[in-house]
């Protein structure tokens, strides 16, 4: 009796969240799919007509699309490489006994708490600007020609800015994982004469493998849709040199008002993200059982 009562109460309490998320999931996504089969431009209202797969074939044969896919992958892989390698190194460093550990931790975490538009604009103007930026001043100090980062290496600059923002995330999570490593195990390995390097390879790295996987998967989800950093620094350019898939869809929708084309691009982005999400969900599902 009591269980029956609580069970229906439980259903009632879960219902609002489920219904809201269900609506959020289905309504806009169904609309995107519907729009992706229409020839629909906001500048020509009332001219909508069924277009079959033409939006998809337009998107998939557009040279900008391949550039965008390449850039998306470059951003994801580039940032992952920097943050995972740097994060492991930093986590190992911060795990050592030192003076003022708490303060160093705070300094390292800070970039993650900065809003993306601020981070991107500070880097763009105060560091990467070829005339007034600090990097230009340092270059001149050594008698070098200042380098125009955002004009000559736009993609690399975006990767650097995004990596600066995500390095703290990787560091923080790997450090948390590192601190759960059994101190006695480390000592035992040391007693047995294992070198620092082999302790790292055979003891620390395997222990971190789960956390590293989590970092890679979660970052990938967010990095696939980097947007603000591109919008305020390069605006996707020069040309489409720093346009990723998210930015391409945004430009198609809100700058060219091509609802059909943008929707097709959106669906492609959803499919790509789902491939990553599939693996991430399995990982998290396993921890739920543990």
């Amino acid at each position: 009796m009591a269980t029956l009562h609580t069970r229906s109460a439980a259903r009632l309490m879960i219902a609002p969240s489920v219904l809201l998320l269900l609506a959020w999931m289905i309504v806009p996504l169904a609309m995107t799919i519907y729009f992706s089969f229409l020839r629909y431009n906001l500048l020509m209202p009332g001219m909508e007509e069924f277009a079959g797969f033409s939006n998809y074939s337009y998107f998939l044969t557009d040279p900008a699309f391949f550039q965008a896919i390449f850039n998306t992958l470059a951003i994801v892989l580039g940032v992952l490489f920097i943050t995972v390698v740097g994060g492991i190194a930093l986590a190992l460093l911060l795990d050592q006994p030192m003076f003022g550990q708490g303060i160093v931790r705070i300094l390292v975490i800070a970039p993650f708490l900065i809003m993306p538009t601020v981070a991107a604009l500070v880097w763009k103007n105060m560091f990467m600007n070829p005339v007034n930026g600090l990097f230009a001043w340092v270059a001149k100090l050594f008698g070098l020609q200042p380098f125009d980062f955002l004009a000559n290496a736009p993609l690399m600059s975006v990767i650097l800015i995004v990596a600066w923002q995500w390095l703290p995330f990787a560091t923080l999570i790997l450090l948390t994982a590192l601190q759960s490593l059994d101190e006695e195990q480390k000592e035992a390995a040391q007693m047995d004469g294992a070198s620092a390097w082999s302790r790292f390879i055979y003891l620390v790295l395997p222990h971190l493998s789960r956390a590293i996987t989590v970092v890679i998967l979660i970052q990938t989800i967010f990095l696939l849709s980097v947007f603000a950093e591109i919008l305020v620094t390069t605006n996707g350019g020069p040309g489409t040199q720093s346009t990723n898939l998210t930015f391409l869809v945004y430009a198609q929708a809100l700058l060219q008002f091509d609802v059909g084309g943008a929707s097709a691009g959106g669906i492609i982005a959803v499919i790509l993200a789902n491939i990553v999400a599939f693996f991430l969900m399995r990982m998290i599902g396993k921890t739920l059982e543990a």
Binding site: S17, A110, F112, L113, V122, I173, A228
Partner: protein, 276 residues
């Protein structure tokens, strides 16, 4: 002897770690310092780190020129509003899933998480059109709605992992003593759950405050939170480094302080409990 070596080692580690820490933090420090310079000093070569005429003029300028306070309040309303509404919806759900789990609870949780995996750009077009047609474009209400929905899965997950750590026996004891469901929630569960709820609140405010996809695309002038307001500095209009720095410092300071207090919760919330 051994102690001596370890002190030496500790000093070396300290120097290396502090150097790297300061380098990583430097862009933020530089922004903070620049916000107290004049525009001329902000681009002076060689740049000066501390020795300049400190002035707070930029902070006044930013407010008088662009109604900074309005955008600051937009950020406050949107991030607190979406977080509080999210908590009101999520607390009962997380409670129910943690204390009366069924065979399907795990599937429901995983499904909720999967909604978070959907890239925002996949639903940008319909959301923009829906908002335009219902007059929600560039309103605080509209932003609160979207941010509530995108962060709801994280709120539920975080609360769920915290609630699960509360021993169920205590609740059962309360029930045996004849406490009703409402009383159980108010007098037994809530006091034990407050630390978890507080951490969830904190993390979610940070996430909502910094959200920069929907705020940039769905707001223009009236409802623009700080993320979108700062983005308007991307169009170059002469000398503006010091004013950009002042606006940025005010935009990031509250969140830096909140974030420093919640380092541990950050890890837990951002990994959906997979790393604690």
């Amino acid at each position: 002897m051994a102690r001596n070596v370890s002190t030496q080692r500790k000093i070396v580690v300290t120097v290396v770690a502090w150097t790297i820490g300061i380098l990583i933090f430097f862009p933020i420090l530089w922004t903070f310092l620049t916000s107290f310079k004049t525009e001329a000093e902000a681009i002076a070569s060689p740049p000066s780190l501390f020795f300049f005429d400190w002035t707070t003029e930029n902070y006044h300028e930013v407010q008088s020129r662009s109604n900074y306070f309005l955008h600051f309040m937009n950020s406050v309303v949107v991030s607190f509003g979406s977080t509080l509404i999210g908590l009101i919806i999520a607390i009962p759900s997380a409670w129910a899933m943690a204390f009366s789990p069924t065979k399907r609870t795990k599937d429901v949780l995983m499904w909720m998480l999967s909604t978070k995996m959907m890239p925002s750009v996949g639903v940008l077009v319909p959301m923009y059109l829906l908002f335009r047609n219902t007059g929600l474009l560039d309103t605080r209400t509209g932003l609160v709605i979207v941010l509530t929905l995108i962060n709801l899965p994280i709120i539920i997950w975080m609360l769920y992992t915290y609630f699960k750590e509360i021993p169920g026996e205590i609740l059962e004891a309360a029930r045996m003593d004849g406490a009703s469901l409402t009383k159980e929630i108010i007098y037994v569960l809530t006091p034990m759950a407050i630390p978890g709820i507080a951490s969830t609140l904190l993390l979610n405010i940070i996430l909502a405050w910094n959200e920069a996809f929907w705020t940039l695309n769905l707001s223009a002038a009236k409802a623009a939170p700080l993320t979108a307001f700062i983005a308007s500095y991307s169009s170059p209009e002469g000398l503006f480094y010091a004013k950009l720095s002042a606006a940025s410092t005010m935009a990031i300071a509250p969140i830096l302080i909140l974030g420093w207090f919640s380092q541990k919760q950050l890890v837990r919330g951002l990994t959906f409990g997979a790393v604690k």
